[in-house]
Symmetry: C2
Subunit: 501 residues, 2 copies
């Protein structure tokens, strides 16, 4: 009976099939499920739930850490099982259902969901469904490749269903640091003062009497889907490394920099990859997701410690790292996303936050989420937690998309996730704009000069000039502010027709 | 020689006239000046600087805590003395200069300015000019009615000029708690775990050798300019108090609520005033500015402690409170604005943040700063520090302005200072929208139903309906999103012409 995996023998009788466990979930319930950036999600029960929902009325509110793998969101959406979903997702099928109004999606800062649950502003949670590598002698849950919101889901939920995943190595034990902030109004400072700080327990402490079912699985996390670095992402990385070197020369950073955060995705991953050949050393990460580049930096000797909430790897890196996770264990800690993304800790450590923008405007406002101001892509994720509180809030994007028909730098972003107050630096493959200490008119000149693609520079310059004639701290022509977006919607290109040819 | 005011006798020889002291400031310098919400600003040297600037080239970068009184910003602007200004202002003359591009204004979260100075991302500061009630035997500066950024300005500046204001009572001593976060990467948690926590010194510790001049003044702070409560602000207060009662019934708040923050201005002041006749008790404040309502709450027995960065009062309250400040001293602490507004502390305490919106949109995004998306009003101030990290981020506004020709609830705000992720509740005199846990489409229905004025409700409903037909997480018609603003600019009213008559 998997004695090394279920060490509290009174729980052996709780093992059942995914279908049996899924029967515990009733129509209308709120479920908190493990999973963060495709790592450590439940593998069997979501499928069993989707099957049930296809046959009988079953619509739930589903909370997770962040995005799920294994087509969980896709299958649950197709079965009509999702009434509400929070705080993040990255699945095309679910995305379509969100955008047609079929699923209510609450897009949240990743640090905030459990804060709202704990103060009963969200919830209550009927069932937590948590993937674990093992259950301790006391009934504690040892997470797998992510912590996400699993700890608080399990602690607050009425009942807990555990998926013991035999494909996740037992060596994951000891990797996690489960610290939960104490209750207000007597909350103590969070005792995390460095990326390597350990403040909590290596397991999620719950009353084993709450465990309602245990399901055995043996299935790997879905692999990360990250595009390999290309000339543009390498150029962006180059601009940032040059900028960091300049900061060192000015005495603002040391050669070990400051703890690094990199959002999920190809560009941020490429920037970290670029640090392998940089003059910096003894780097540390205080991030949310540890991607391939984290382990490349470890192996190159550049990185000495990494704190995150999940490990999400491409297929090759997965096969190299996960079976040998013991080799990295003294260099890594996985925390609840509330702590990995906590304003208190990010501000204390002086993190350098590098996140991807969907589009930026000439004043340095950033849209991270809404295509054309209306259609959800994935969600804000942790970008706001980091950008607001970072020592340096950096956003990266290629200057153009869709064969140059879309500019990622526009007169006014069609949706604002991060405003000028939180955006210190913008980098595209064209160059880098250091916006610190600049007024909006100066920010616009800098961004247009350094970051926008040449095919859009004249258009942007003309807009800024005409807007400035009308005055203001942040000159705009409201009747033209979205003209690029509207043109793209009508003609397929932000470029005026006479230029498209 | 003011022995009780200048207790370090080696400094007695530094006393000079404002004109002599002002001569120390050279063209192009960066000056950090005391002053926060019209309280504790320098009274004499700004005038002397303005006189010099009228006669010779003198343009400086001026940093303060927040807004100044005594027409300081007006006189400096008229004299052409301001090249750059940060992080906040509230003066009509300076505002005009900012909006015509004559003064570069950097609008910042009030907690962040000194963080950027300390990490050398802004500055260096050549001179700090700080109002003090006294200088201690060791050369420490005892602030007056505000702390603002004065402590870090004085600590980081090359040289310090002190204005000893005899009109500020010596009893202010002991009111202040000067705690400065320790250096990264060894920063410790901020030891403020309750509004009444004291973590630092009662004076600003500086090397007395840095004091370059002492000027004696005797002039009161400018009085606050707050409109008295009216029927609309009373209605808003009523909606909020009803909401708090509902939160208590749901077990989300106790009858002592959670530490309160109220932004400067008539509406927030009226909301606090409304708590006098509420069933709540033993209230505490963790705010930035302590206004008339704070002392009314003290005197009514409702409030037991208030933490802030300044005391800004109307004329009557000033004359009642300031000469008797000793009476309140064990109930009040004034902190550096970095601490009063620190994300770490606000999140830890679970503050209820109540701030004023310039306009909101149907999805709950808030514009706090830019009239018509372009022209600066005052600045974001501390509203972002509080709204992002608060237990409850509440925004208040009257539903209409300018005799009903402007709706404060619009399809899309023309500038975003606080986005949907940070706005939990919106209240107008019409009603209150509780947006927690709602998806954008639901937020829009709630705001239109509860908050918008009836004369705009049909227009907003029509917009939402047509936008929703196009789909999306946050439905919009980009070509119409600013149509209300554009109509107001063209016709003077957001209402279509056939309704204006």
């Amino acid at each position: 009976m998997y004695r090394d995996r279920i060490r509290l023998n009174t729980l052996w009788g709780m093992v059942m099939s995914p279908e049996e466990a899924a029967m515990l979930i009733k129509d209308g319930m709120t479920v908190g499920m493990s999973g963060f950036t495709r790592a450590g999600d439940a593998k069997a029960i979501p499928l069993a739930l989707a099957e049930r929902a296809a046959a009988e009325p079953l619509r739930i509110t589903l909370m997770t850490g962040a995005s799920l793998g294994n087509d969980n969101d896709k299958l649950l959406t197709q079965a009509g099982a999702l009434a509400r979903r929070l705080p993040f997702q990255a699945d095309p099928t679910l995305r379509a259902a969100i955008n047609n109004g079929g699923v209510m999606f609450i897009d949240q800062h990743l640090s905030e969901t459990v804060e709202m649950l704990r103060s009963r502003q969200l919830g209550p949670i009927d069932y937590a469904i948590v993937e674990a590598s093992a259950i301790t002698e006391d009934g504690g849950l040892i997470p797998t490749t992510s912590v996400g919101n699993s700890a608080t889901f399990a602690i607050l939920a009425e009942k807990v269903i555990v998926e013991i995943n035999l494909a996740q190595p037992l060596e994951l034990e000891g990797l996690h640091d489960i610290y939960i902030p104490t209750r207000r109004p007597f909350r103590e400072p969070i005792p995390v003062v460095a990326p390597e700080s350990r403040a909590g327990l290596p397991f999620i402490p719950i009353d084993p009497g709450k465990i309602a079912a245990i399901v055995i699985t043996q299935k790997s996390d879905s692999a990360a889907t990250i595009d390999p670095p290309d000339a543009d992402t390498a150029a962006i990385a180059g601009h940032l490394i040059e900028f960091f070197q300049s900061e060192v020369r000015k005495g603002r950073l040391g050669t070990t920099l400051s703890p690094l955060q990199a959002g999920i995705g190809s560009i941020a991953n490429a920037v970290l990859h670029g640090l392998i050949d940089s003059p910096f050393h003894d780097l540390k990460m205080y991030s949310e997701v540890l991607q391939d580049s984290t382990f490349e930096l470890f192996d190159s000797g550049k990185l000495v410690f990494a704190s995150g909430s999940s490990i999400t790897l491409g297929p090759e890196a997965h096969d190299r790292v996960i079976p040998n996770i013991g080799h990295y264990k003294n260099k890594i800690v996985l925390r609840p996303q509330e702590i990995s993304n906590h304003p208190e800790v990010i501000r204390r450590l002086g993190v350098i936050g590098i996140n991807t923008a969907l589009e930026c405007d000439i004043y340095g406002n950033v849209n991270s989420t809404h295509v054309n101001g209306t259609h959800m892509m994935n969600g804000i994720g942790g970008s706001g937690d980091f950008a607001r509180n970072a020592h340096l809030g950096i956003f990266v994007t290629k200057s153009r998309a869709k064969n140059g028909t879309l500019s990622r730098i526009v007169p006014m972003v069609s949706h604002v996730d991060h405003n000028e107050h939180d955006v210190d630096v913008i980098a595209t493959e064209i160059g880098l704009a250091d916006l610190r200490g600049l007024a909006p008119r100066e920010r616009a000149q800098t961004i247009i000069r350094n970051c926008i693609h040449s095919s859009y520079r004249e258009l942007a310059t003309d807009y800024l000039k005409r807007a400035s004639q009308r005055g203001g701290q942040t000159p705009h022509l409201l009747e033209e502010a979205f003209s690029w977006h509207i043109r793209a919607r009508q003609t397929g290109s932000m470029l005026p027709e006479h230029r498209a040819g």
